[in-house]
């Protein structure tokens, strides 16, 4: 059972396992793997705490789940599954600043947190605008050969590569 405690698998093995998982989610849950809408669902739940049902009557929130649903549980499960894999392989570590960030921009947590939050804003906004993310479009949509997903996945990487070179260009 060494494979369970290995920190890292071949990317092909991990990817193939995700491919098989996608068969099962389609077959059993009739749903493709996707993650980003769960964050919008969370936003709707938070707004409901403050505004009651007013938030849910907004046009966008009428198009998505505004209560805990399959995908929200999927994302919660990802946290648990990644934790389990990290823990049993001795790779779990509380860390504020990733090594590569620290090498380029220093090891202070606050700048990293602020930039992560700013990146998150773009990602949240962009994934809702594109109607999917690297899972929903990048894996589930491309494997269905959906045109919307192939275009999205290609532009995720075009935007991401350009922005990464701007950020790390001098580093």
């Amino acid at each position: 059972m060494d494979w369970l405690t290995q920190v890292r698998w071949s990317p092909y093995a991990a990817g193939a396992a995700i491919g098989v998982l996608s068969w099962l989610t389609f077959l059993i849950s009739k749903r493709p793997l996707g993650c980003s809408t769960a964050f919008a669902t969370t936003g709707a739940m938070i707004r409901r705490l403050f505004q009651g049902n007013k938030a849910e009557q907004q046009p966008y929130y009428r198009t998505i789940a505004t209560r805990i649903d399959w995908q929200w549980m999927l994302v919660l499960g990802i946290v648990i599954g990644a934790f389990a894999s990290a823990w049993i392989s001795g790779d779990f570590a509380l860390q504020w600043v990733p090594a590569r960030w620290a090498a380029a921009f220093g090891s202070a947590p606050l700048p990293r947190l602020l930039v992560a939050a700013l990146g998150g804003v773009f990602m949240g906004f962009g994934s809702r605008w594109a109607n999917g993310c690297t899972s929903g479009h990048g894996i589930s949509g491309t494997l269905q050969l959906a045109i919307s997903s192939w275009i999205s996945a290609i532009f995720f990487f075009i935007g991401g590569i350009a922005a990464a070179f701007v950020l790390f260009g001098g580093a």
Binding site: A16, W23, L27, I80, A82, A86, G126, L167
Partner: protein
């Protein structure tokens, strides 16, 4: 509608979501894509782990989904799109991908891995960004998002070809792309 079976169905659906999520998170961690350094390495074209994980998932997932479609076990769920939705949204997402250094799924995985920049900064940002979109949605959905609308087309339907006439060449092309990456030492 039977009021006792509905909650039971819902519980079952949520439980499956959790089970599939645990498996997904486990594989994302084993694939090393819960790590900022790996994702930034991909976007700087130095480490192709992210692309390898994604393409392997597509190469394995695609024939299974299309075989199950053929057997009538599943229905495809392609998302409707347009150039305004997918090009502009894709680019905005891409900026977030590089600035945050995680994507929505790997962000959750990074949180499980113990990475607090993901759990604290990333999660807050993505929720705020999603809500910002909800606020502009009424203004963009009928305008810029309609630009270049093509709907929920798939490649086989667009090309008017048999599914397998696209699935098999697509698999071969993606496998060749991975071989090319390995040959190039990436």
């Amino acid at each position: 509608m039977n009021t006792t079976t509905v909650p039971a169905n819902r519980r079952r659906e949520l439980l499956w979501g959790l089970v599939f999520g645990i498996a997904f998170g486990f594989f994302l961690h084993k694939g090393a894509v819960t790590k900022y350094d790996v994702i930034i390495g991909q976007l700087l074209l130095q480490d192709f782990t992210v692309l390898k994980v994604m393409l392997a998932a597509v190469i394995v997932g695609m024939p299974g989904i299309y075989a199950m479609k053929r057997l009538g076990w599943v229905e495809l769920q392609p998302k409707a799109g347009s150039l305004g939705i997918n090009v502009i949204g894709g680019l905005l997402f891409g900026i977030g991908f590089a600035v945050l250094g995680y994507c929505p799924g790997t962000l959750a995985g990074a949180a499980g891995n113990g990475y607090l920049d993901a759990l604290v900064g990333g999660v807050a940002g993505i929720i705020v960004g999603s809500d910002l979109f909800a606020r502009v949605y009424p203004k963009v959905r009928g305008g810029i998002q309609r630009w270049g609308y093509f709907g929920d087309l798939t490649l086989p339907r667009w090309l008017k070809l048999n599914d397998w006439a696209v699935v098999i060449p697509a698999m071969i092309l993606l496998i060749l792309l991975l071989f090319g990456l390995e040959m190039a030492g990436l």
